[in-house]
Symmetry: C2
Subunit: 805 residues, 2 copies
């Protein structure tokens, strides 16, 4: 994140001015950020080392990030393809679009069910066996301490083994599978393609790693990973399989564009949330509120369809497993944490304690964000030392977790079973809500009941209603403190990990604690306070409102709680927002992903795009019919991804004067490379006819990505030939006049989903270049602009907050 | 809707070419559509008679509709104001924004509660008294027929009186209060300001009229009107009171812009839905999915806050009234149609009958849309005959409704009370779910139970669960047929009316009927089938998905029904969409509101904005420092609302060559009129300094609307003076190059929320005008373009559907 502040305004020296195409990087263009629009030095002080892996936050793994093209590239080939598309093909496209949305839902639903099945069985049997081991272990040792030590060795060993599987897979095969993946999905939908994020290996590692890490009893959830898994399925389906072993199915050719993949990945993300919380509407809203940058109602409908498929699949699995055919999985119903049986009645004087829950939730949430930020920075120092360091860190956290989970219950006294609940008090097998652990028969250890269970069961226990005396304050306090520490130290390790469940665990504990502390003022059930606490902390950390509200409604099935949930969420978000941004924004910034925010800074109104472009080296234009050597030179010596195509005078259909210049459009690097690879060269400088190019190219050929100009061999003879760029040029790039304020340019760039924005001059006349600059995503990131124009930062300080938030 | 197809391409005759500023409308500029960009004739065959009133659909009331300016007008005054805004003022603004959102919620909640209270009491006591009148009316007549006739006379009389109040108010004082108002709100948020839509008189008439018409037993709901009421409150609060008696509160000056009013009205619309269905999350989603055109997450949060306030207010009222302090109001809980007590269990073989509900819902919904369209066209012929005709139509519908409601129950036989439900069978006072009407004691008339109740109670009756034999098939059939007819004939009359409840009534009846018909195949409760039927018909007619799903969840409080509700909604929407557009889109088109759709037509890619602009008369440019006489002439002779400001050569800060032209920006008609009114004229042609204009103007002065150039008196001497337009010019208008395709221009126009879009030439050079055209909303409406370029329409037919939907 450290950036030197030098060399932004290039010293205008003669050598540079005379030779604008000085080669600086010796052909290693791929090492550079390809969004860079500069020939000599990085423009606008962008960080050239954008990191892609979750835990390598200070640059262990350098890679370039290419922007996605969500705009439609209207070149001649596209237009021909568009016109010639038969209504049959259009129907195929629509059918396929819905089929893919269906498949995304189906695969996500099935995978989520299988993951749940695996986790519930592995973690459940692990805990059952532990209980049995501790309770009667006559065979090996008879003394108490021996039993407990064996028990601990068993628990720590199993947890360590599971963690090792998860961490090793992540470290060796798919570093991008670590962490939740939600920030990267958010960035993808904003137009930033993090490499290796949605591949088949990531998917497989994520699934297995998620099972391992959650079963290992680490303080992390499967929710974030499920969102990522859904998106991976979507991305793979959109490509027609993995990139390496791709099925070249003819129908899929219309999906080889960033727009359709974006839509599919949005479906995948909603499906993932839906599968995680069994919350179909919450899933759609989560994608809408938190993940997606662009939204339209057609997409609302499609994501809704995907989540409907997911929920039908989940319901089918649960119904099938309900009769015990799947081991420990499927015993509950469709609703994860049902608290609907308690009657909710509250009055005006309940609002104050509820407001306290919200305020504390906001404070804790922002504090959590702050500390987690520090911890992640520290971890990245460890993680960048290499694979072994990453692995050791994960294993260390696993051992620490095992020690805490196992030893802390010894600190609390045993609780006698409530005779009115007799039937559910610890059963001999150790299943059920109450764990006996070190207590005599007829007693249970309330902290062990929380800690010696799967995370889901722990939440269910804390949410349990009409049980005012089930948990002691001291146990809840220990539980809360433990999960605060675990939540901070676990998130950054190299295993797939979600943020939702750790925060719900923390929040539910503090909500229930608060209810115990305010016992005399509180008329609402403690279990509901736990729900409110979880919602408040969630909102205080993630800063979502409507989607959280619906997710909690669908998690707990208590509609009457909705008004106070809304109240708590609003308070917690307001309190949290006054301290720091949301946890996902913090992670995005830590990773250095060039995410384009929706809100513009006030000082952006005081800067024009002309001023911004003047601070950059000038743009490289190509002519409509260009020499091959010039194209190769430009491609090799710059790292631009788009070049304006400008025609000088020449023959024009409207018979304009000869001294005019014409903006023909913008041609992409990928398309130029495609032309060079196919060697579609002309002997003389002339414009080609439509049929000529269509004999050689289809619009699908141009959609291929990833080839580099260095790989193309061109002979000396070919170098002197010409290329007609007109058929490949996007004739309708978006433009702004140079007097446009940056604030408005950002609105245009983000709302329309651009990759390049051309700047045209305010003054018209002979001899003025028709394109004075190109803006890319990097140029419009507030952080980058402030580095280039530090005086704006001061003004920013004076103004305080953005008044158009 | 009739439009002549002539005169689109003006014949280039010499007179016109020589005198481009021929006066055509003799100063009656306000009679013309001010969005028109033409000097001589309407461009692009737009309809010059946009109608504003709900029932005057074929042009009874001609009025012009001005587009709203959702873009920030960055002129010098704004920029100065922006820079000089202290952080204290920014805080004031933020505080005020939230206060207004709070007040919108509070007022909507209180008003909704009072409306409910009035309706439940008026309609409830009306029905109670009717039951008593029919049951024992010894005093006046003893024979059966006499009793029934008196009963009918009483019912018809009361209904007629209530309808008269509602219709008279609507016809005399606020024609815009008739109908639901939702299409106009949708249009407002799209940028179309229907006149007199959000005024104080509309608000008051809407409240009283809504009470009257719903109490009168007409087949309409208070839901649509409540949305309109919420929006009216928002609009009035944003202006600081009614336009006529406006409080000029200093803090409100920052709200005198279309953007902030738009946000407030979005809050108002969500509050209205929330108040109507007691559905806070559904309200937010309704605004998001159906009403709003632009959306950002800050707004999501603010609307969520408003609906939270509404729901707290509603809950407070219900709690207060629960003990009987408000007459018949408040006996139920917060949930309107609670069906949560029934256990939902369904299997794979239940999916088929549920799918049938969806398919029939989609068919019926689109059929309803189709027939309602025809009825509304017919009604508009009646309504345009004048106020008396409107009034008579309303009264006729009222009498017809009374006859049906009263007489139809005689057709069905009496049902003996089920002894297991003994306690609730008809009570002597006639309250409760079962109505005795013409039946002996111990029996009830099931059709009367549905018809002699408020609409809400009727829905509750049809939704009632675990009562498989409560209603006969014949009664449900009559009920369904009756409400199909009433739903069609009632909607277009001149009273405030909502569409939700009529559709729910119809849908619930057919759902329950279907469950009766498929008795042997159906394992889900009949009441739940009624809910599904209502959801399906709603989706089939209104084509919403997520918001309807949440509204139904919050209406019925049955989370386990959610997956099949989603299933039904998706099927119904798919079926409906294959026949016609949603009912709101049909009404928008009927009213001729220039609504800009999100989806672009495929043929828009084959047309450039340059071709579109070439079909229009040329744009009128102003110079940076312009003669007063020229400004007055242009304002009087054109009806444009925006003029490009172009400087020729002249002094420029960057020392460009003298033969250049400079696009300075765009100046608005309203601002030119403001300058003329303040008479800020210069003796000589010069550019002014910043302080000069700020002595005379603030940015708030420019925000005033509605003044006309004809009202300004300018002396001969003043005519020869100059105006410096630079300080008033928006220096950052959005522009497109003339080669841009119309599809992309529409995306830009809509996504960024524009009013004017400048077209700049593709060719650059001396002597080329820097602005070749202006596009407005009217130019980009698909319908208008097709009128101008009929050959595109043919292609459209070939292509079938838009493949990017």
């Amino acid at each position: 994140m450290e950036e030197s502040s030098s060399s932004f305004f290039p010293e205008p020296n003669a050598a540079e001015a005379a030779a604008p195409h000085v080669e600086v990087d010796g052909g290693q263009e791929d090492e550079h950020d390809p969004e860079s629009n500069s020939l000599q030095q990085p423009l606008l002080k962008r960080s050239p080392t954008l990191t892609a892996s979750h835990y390598a936050m200070v640059g262990a793994k350098v890679s370039h990030i290419e922007s996605l093209d969500y705009e439609i590239n209207e070149n001649d080939l596209f237009k021909h393809d568009w016109r010639s598309r038969s209504s049959n093909e259009v129907l195929q496209y629509i059918f396929l679009k819905w089929t893919l949305a269906f498949l995304v839902g189906l695969l996500t639903g099935v995978t989520a069910s299988l993951i749940n099945l695996a986790i519930e069985n592995i973690a459940g049997f692990k805990m059952l066996y532990l209980a049995r081991l501790v309770k009667d272990q006559r065979r090996f040792c008879s003394s108490g301490s021996c039993r407990y030590i064996t028990g601990f060795a068993y628990l720590a060993g199993v947890n360590l083994a599971l963690t090792t599987v998860a961490a090793t897979l992540c470290v060796m095969f798919a570093p991008t599978a670590a962490g939740p993946g939600i920030p990267e999905i958010k960035a993808y939908l904003n137009g930033v393609d993090t490499p290796n994020m949605f591949g088949a290996s990531t998917l497989i590692v994520k699934i297995i790693g998620s099972i391992g890490s959650v079963s290992a009893g680490l303080d992390l959830g499967k929710e974030g990973p499920l969102v990522h898994i859904g998106s991976c399925f979507a991305s793979l389906l959109g490509q027609g399989g993995s990139k390496k072993y791709r099925l070249d199915w003819k129908w899929l050719r219309y999906f080889k564009n960033d727009r359709d993949r974006r839509d599919l990945i949005t479906c995948g993300a909603s499906s993932g949330v839906c599968a995680a919380f069994r919350s179909p509407v919450g899933g759609v809203l989560f994608a809408l509120e938190e993940v997606a940058t662009w939204w339209r109602s057609a997409l609302l409908w499609r994501t809704f369809f995907s989540t409907a498929v997911v929920v039908v699949v989940l319901r089918g699995f649960i119904e099938y497993c309900n009769s015990g055919r799947c081991g420990l999985f499927g015993r509950g119903g469709l609703i994860l944490f049902d608290v609907s049986e308690v009657a909710v009645s509250y009055h005006i004087n309940d609002l104050l304690p509820v407001a306290v829950v919200g305020v504390i939730g906001g404070l804790l949430g922002s504090l959590y964000n702050y500390v987690l930020h520090k911890v992640l920075r520290l971890y990245s120092l460890i993680n960048e030392r290499g694979r072994v360091a990453k692995l050791l860190l994960s294993l260390g956290v696993s051992i620490f977790t095992s020690i805490c989970l196992y030893c802390l219950p010894f600190l609390v006294p045993c609780t006698p079973c409530d005779p009115s609940l007799g039937a559910v008090c610890p059963t001999p097998e150790g299943s059920g809500n109450f764990k006996q652990f070190n207590c005599p028969n007829g007693y249970y250890n309330d902290l062990a009941s929380l800690l010696h269970a799967t995370n889901d069961d722990a939440v269910r226990n804390v949410f349990s209603t009409s049980t005012p005396n089930e948990f002691r304050a001291i146990s809840l306090l220990i539980f809360f403190a433990l999960y605060c520490v675990l939540g901070l130290v676990t998130f950054g390790i190299a295993v797939p990990s979600g943020l939702f469940l750790p925060i719900i665990l923390m929040g539910s504990a503090y909500g229930r604690l608060l209810a115990l502390a305010l016992k005399s003022y509180v008329h609402i059930d403690q279990g509901l306070y736990a729900v409110l606490g979880a919602a408040a902390l969630m909102s205080g950390s993630m800063r979502m409102t409507v989607s959280l509200c619906v997710i909690f409604l669908e998690l707990t099935n208590n509609l009457l709680l909705l008004p106070i949930t809304m109240f708590v969420l609003l308070i917690a978000k307001t309190v949290g927002d006054s301290f720091n941004p949301s946890i996902y924004e913090i992670i995005l910034e830590l990773k250095g992903l060039p995410f384009l925010e929706a809100k513009t800074e006030p000082w952006m109104r005081n800067l024009t795009v002309g001023e911004l472009a003047a601070a950059k080296p000038s743009v490289v234009n190509l002519r409509g019919v260009e020499k091959v050597s010039r194209v190769v030179e430009v491609l090799k010596q710059t790292s631009h991804n788009g070049f304006p195509v400008v025609d000088q005078g020449g023959p024009s259909p409207m018979g304009t004067p000869a001294n005019t210049t014409e903006i023909h459009g913008l041609v992409l690097r990928a398309h130029l490379v495609a032309v060079l690879r196919k060697k579609w060269f002309l002997k003389e400088r002339r414009r080609t006819a439509d049929w000529e190019v269509r004999e050689k190219f289809t619009s699908v050929d141009l959609a291929e990505k990833g080839h580099k100009v260095g790989q193309v061999l061109i002979t000396e003879e070919e170098m002197n030939m010409y290329i007609d760029l007109h058929p490949f040029t996007n004739t309708t790039p978006y433009t702004v006049v140079e007097s446009m304020s940056v604030a408005k340019a950002v609105v245009l760039f983000r709302q329309v989903g651009l990759r390049h924005l051309l700047i045209i001059p305010k003054y018209q006349g002979a001899g003025i270049s028709p394109v004075v600059g190109i803006l890319t995503r990097q140029d419009l990131i507030a952080h980058n602009i402030l580095n280039a124009f530090p005086h704006l930062a001061n003004k920013k300080g004076e103004k305080g907050r953005n008044s158009h938030s």
